[in-house]
């Protein structure tokens, strides 16, 4: 999101899923395992390819499922996305396929950017990425000559130390081709969790208030100080990847965690465990005794989505109703109720921090509808998104500033949030950890179709466990032969941080020299191996590249 914010002034999926599925002439998927991670959108793309002949270029080191439908599959080496994208743009400039009118009217910074791109001739790019020159030309032609092309990505682009720059380079590509602000085009980062978009929109980030109002802005601070009767300073807070290590640095003494499982989902599990062991006080609000629960001092039982009413915001900025279907189990309570109770009790507990009388200083909420009214008042992009309108079946995608606003399916149609789109010169940087003699293979990590994130939900779904019941490490036939893995076998994967043992899945999904592991199973979680090398801006860890060695156990 930080990358798109730099290029356009705001960061979110610019188009809608139905729009690109219907209108794109071509798709460029890079770093998204769409059919496994966003399965229903994946099927929309398959339909577009099969039934209306849309072209599809997939760039991914792994032969993921959607590559079966690809016109062309580029298998770049992990961590070489910038070189690849620059290489494609070099060809686009060389062949004069850029959209000159769009560049002239809507963008700035072309010359400086061009100078950088010209450093990436196809032969050099081929050397860095491992993609043959002829494929680079073919890919550039498909992407440039079918207009509009929609660019789609996910964590395969962002979970690198160069994640923000990867995103900015994709923004460069779409500006160069004039694919911004048009149906069927755009930059389309797919958000992983059901409500990760909403959690960001609602100010669940250390640098912004709801609707991305920066905490560093005195104006924004004053606005929320007036609304709540008291607020925080203008100093940017710590990210999740800084908060937990901050415990051992004596910066963080107490943690309040709602429905997250850092032991499973954060990089370098061994270090995370050490940090959590040292915390003075940890309150965890959860539905299951997760791996993180072992380190908690208080466990507050929240509820599942079936037991509460409110809203989620999907990847295309569309706000939708969640309806309570059953009563909370046992003595569990809706999470909004619990948070409000904690807040009230902290406020009456001491006199050190007392909010002034203000329109929204209080914490008495009868239901989430009342909370939404407060959100409407302080969150410009959600100003007109009410439960009442959603119940009537209105399609509301933010920005939707007022009660009579129809919502915004495509962003940046007239101009970018920052005015002109900014071309940024982006150079390739190698991954933080490259293979060595001791750790000769590359590990990439992620999820699989049948499981979800830390696995707390899906490991408790019987059928899913029948189909995919243990951690599997994807290993190429080539490497399997070298290691003596004949069909089946347990392998030990070791990085500088830790080691896991898991069943090998011998498959040509991964190229020789690469293994792929997931983090769904605590007994063999890929995050024991990953490193906490962070993108300097977004603080996203480089989950997609780590150096490992693989041995046969038996």
């Amino acid at each position: 999101m930080a990358g798109l914010a730099a290029s356009f002034g705001s960061g979110a999926m610019s188009n809608s899923m139905d729009d690109v599925a219907k209108n794109a002439k071509a798709f460029f998927i890079i770093g998204s395992n769409t059919t496994e991670q966003h399965p229903v959108f994946g099927t929309m793309l398959r339909r577009a390819v099969r039934f209306r002949g849309a072209k599809l270029v997939v760039a991914d080191p792994r032969k993921i499922d959607i590559t079966e439908f690809a016109t062309l599959h580029l298998r770049q080496k992990p961590g070489t996305d910038i070189a690849l994208i620059n290489g494609l743009m070099y060809i686009i400039l060389e062949k004069d396929w850029a959209d000159k009118q769009f560049i002239e009217e809507r963008t700035e910074g072309l010359e400086e950017f061009k100078a950088t791109v010209m450093q990436y001739p196809p032969t050099l790019v081929s050397e860095i990425t491992g993609v043959p020159v002829s494929q680079l030309y073919e890919a550039a032609e498909i992407i440039a000559r079918n207009k509009p092309t929609a660019v789609i990505w996910a964590m395969g682009i962002t979970q690198h130390i160069s994640g923000v720059r990867n995103v900015m380079d994709l923004a460069n590509l779409q500006m160069l081709l004039g694919n911004m602000g048009v149906p069927g085009g755009g930059v389309n980062p797919l958000r992983g969790q059901n409500n990760v978009q909403g959690a960001c929109d609602m100010g669940g980030l250390p640098n912004v208030y709801p609707s991305y109002q920066p905490v560093t802005s005195e104006e924004a601070r004053k606005k929320f100080d007036d609304a709540w009767g008291l607020t925080s300073s203008t100093k940017v807070g710590l990210t999740a990847t800084e908060i937990i290590p901050g415990i051992l640095e004596d910066k963080i003494h107490a943690l309040y965690i709602l429905g997250e499982d850092p032991v499973m989902s954060d990089p370098d599990t061994h270090h995370i465990r050490k940090c959590l062991e040292a915390i003075d006080f940890l309150v965890l609000q959860e539905i299951f005794p997760s791996e993180t629960a072992a380190y908690a001092d208080v466990l507050l039982p929240g509820v599942s989505f079936a037991e509460k009413t409110g809203t989620f915001t999907n990847t295309e900025r569309r706000v939708q109703m969640v309806h309570k279907a059953i009563e909370p189990l046992g003595d569990s309570r809706p999470d909004w109720w619990i948070t409000a109770e904690v807040a009230k009790r902290v406020l009456i507990g001491t006199n050190n921090r007392v909010p002034r009388e203000a329109p929204f200083s209080g914490w008495e909420y009868r239901d989430t509808n009342e909370i939404m009214s407060e959100i409407n008042a302080v969150t410009p992009s959600y100003g007109g998104i009410t439960h009442q309108r959603l119940e009537k079946g209105e399609r509301l995608q933010w920005p939707c500033p007022s009660a009579d606003h129809p919502g915004t399916p495509v962003l940046h149609t007239k101009q970018f949030t920052r005015g002109k789109g900014k071309f940024a010169p982006i150079d390739h940087v190698p991954p933080a950890e490259e293979p060595t003699d001791d750790y000769p293979m590359v590990l990439s990590t992620g999820r699989v179709l049948y499981h979800w994130h830390g696995g707390q939900m899906t490991r408790r779904a019987k059928g899913l466990m029948e189909v995919y019941g243990e951690a599997l490490v994807e290993l190429s036939p080539n490497d399997a032969e070298k290691l003596g893995v004949n069909g089946k076998g347990i392998v030990r994967v070791t990085s500088r941080r830790g080691s896991i043992e898991a069943q090998a899945w011998v498959t040509d999904r991964v190229p020789p020299g690469m293994v792929y592991a997931n983090f769904h199973f605590p007994e063999a979680s890929a995050n024991e191996l990953t490193l906490a090398a962070l993108d300097p801006v977004s603080k996203i860890p480089e989950y997609k590249v780590a150096a490992v060695k693989v041995e046969l156990v038996g």
Binding site: V196, V298, P301, G302, H323, L329, E341, R460, K462, Y543
Partner: protein, 374 residues
């Protein structure tokens, strides 16, 4: 181009290129269908939608026959009704007749039509049970080809919605049957277990295995609540099917704006965590918090070695007061920025908003984040 046709003696306007079924639907004229589904391309193979066209030698399938200028159609003539009844009888002759025990009874489209046309199982008897019941080991999909009427909706749903081509038609004549792959199991045929075929199947040939026998289709026993999926960011909607206070399954809701009838394996079949016995249902605190004394910071996982760390179930007041006291103390002693808040990408917007307000207003810190980066 507008053209004029006659349906049941009534002159109506239709568009060139429309099928009889489409033209009739636009004028609220009912023609029964079985293999036809609006999401799938029409195949005209079940013969339920047959109509009589003046001058035609045979009855025509309305779902695939285009209208022409002056076309004169009878949708419910004696000949048509008799033909439809015979078609249904032929289906019944080859269909297990135990509706009372069938999982989709009440939602079965064949059952509806058999009732409407009062089609008795023919005197020349049924062919009995030809196929193994629950013949496929897929953990989610219950296959009973004895109930299959060869409408091919499953084949089309897999090819046209999921685009996976798992189901196909094999053999000919009376031996004709629907098979996965080249007669393998579903998973061997690279089934993704999305359940689209189950959602589109008009009978009990394909149903849900994980809640088989719980009464998903008994409308008088269940309530359906439309909601949004809790897995990925696509935002599919569906109905949670609730019986006696328990979620017993997920049903496609054709009005879902993002996904229509389509769902993935997790959305459709990954709901049983909701009632898993591991669910936390009481607030819990570590014993040292109730009895006083210091927290021992080592050996967190070994409660036997350190009884002070044993979990104790409490009431809400106790747990909330301890939480508030500890957070307040950390804030007042170490400063607002000594507290970290992790909010949740799995929770509601309203809940995330409150976590943001709690961090900034109550605690006074911007140390709030969630797993967007992970």
């Amino acid at each position: 181009m507008t053209i004029n046709i006659i349906i049941n003696g009534k002159k109506i306007e239709a568009q060139a290129g429309q099928t009889i079924l489409q033209a009739a639907k636009e004028h609220d004229l009912h023609i029964p269908t079985l293999c036809y589904h609006k999401d799938l391309s029409p195949t005209g193979n079940c013969r339920m939608c047959v109509v009589e066209v003046k001058g035609g030698r045979f009855l025509q399938a309305a779902c695939v026959t285009p209208v022409w200028e002056g076309m004169d159609i009878q949708t419910d003539s004696e000949k048509v009704v008799k033909d439809r009844r015979l078609t249904l009888q032929l289906m019944l002759a080859n269909h297990t007749a135990n509706c009372a025990c069938c999982d989709v009874s009440n939602e079965c489209e064949l059952q509806e039509l058999v009732y409407e046309y009062q089609a008795e199982t023919p005197a020349w008897g049924t062919k009995g049970t030809r196929y193994k019941v629950d013949s496929d080991p897929n953990p989610f999909i219950h296959v009973d080809m004895n109930k299959c009427i060869l409408c091919r909706r499953c084949v089309q749903a897999c090819a046209e919605i999921q685009v996976r081509d798992v189901w196909g038609v094999a053999y000919r004549g009376f031996q004709e049957q629907i098979v996965a792959g080249a007669g393998t199991t579903l998973l061997e045929a690279r089934c993704e277990s999305c359940g689209q075929c189950v959602a589109y199947c008009p009978t009990g040939a394909l149903s849900t295995k994980i809640n088989y026998g719980q009464g998903m289709a008994r409308a008088h026993q269940v309530t359906k609540v439309t909601t949004t999926c809790s897995y990925c960011g696509v935002g599919c909607q569906f109905d949670l099917v609730v019986k006696r206070g328990k979620v017993i399954g997920v049903a496609s809701n054709p009005n879902s704006p993002v996904n229509g009838m389509a769902l993935c394996v997790k959305g459709r079949f990954g709901y049983d965590y909701i009632h898993h016995p591991d669910r936390l249902t009481k607030p819990k605190v570590r014993r040292y918090l109730l009895e006083g004394g210091e927290k021992l910071k080592t050996n967190r996982k070994s409660e036997i070695a350190n009884p002070k760390l044993e979990w104790v179930e409490t009431d809400w007041d106790t747990a909330l007061n301890i939480t508030a006291k500890k957070l307040g103390e950390a804030r007042d002693y170490f400063g607002s920025d000594s507290i970290g808040i992790l909010t949740s990408a799995k929770c509601l917007n309203e809940e995330n908003y409150l976590m943001n307000k709690l961090a900034r207003q109550v605690i006074g810190t911007n140390n709030i984040d969630h797993c967007a980066r992970l």
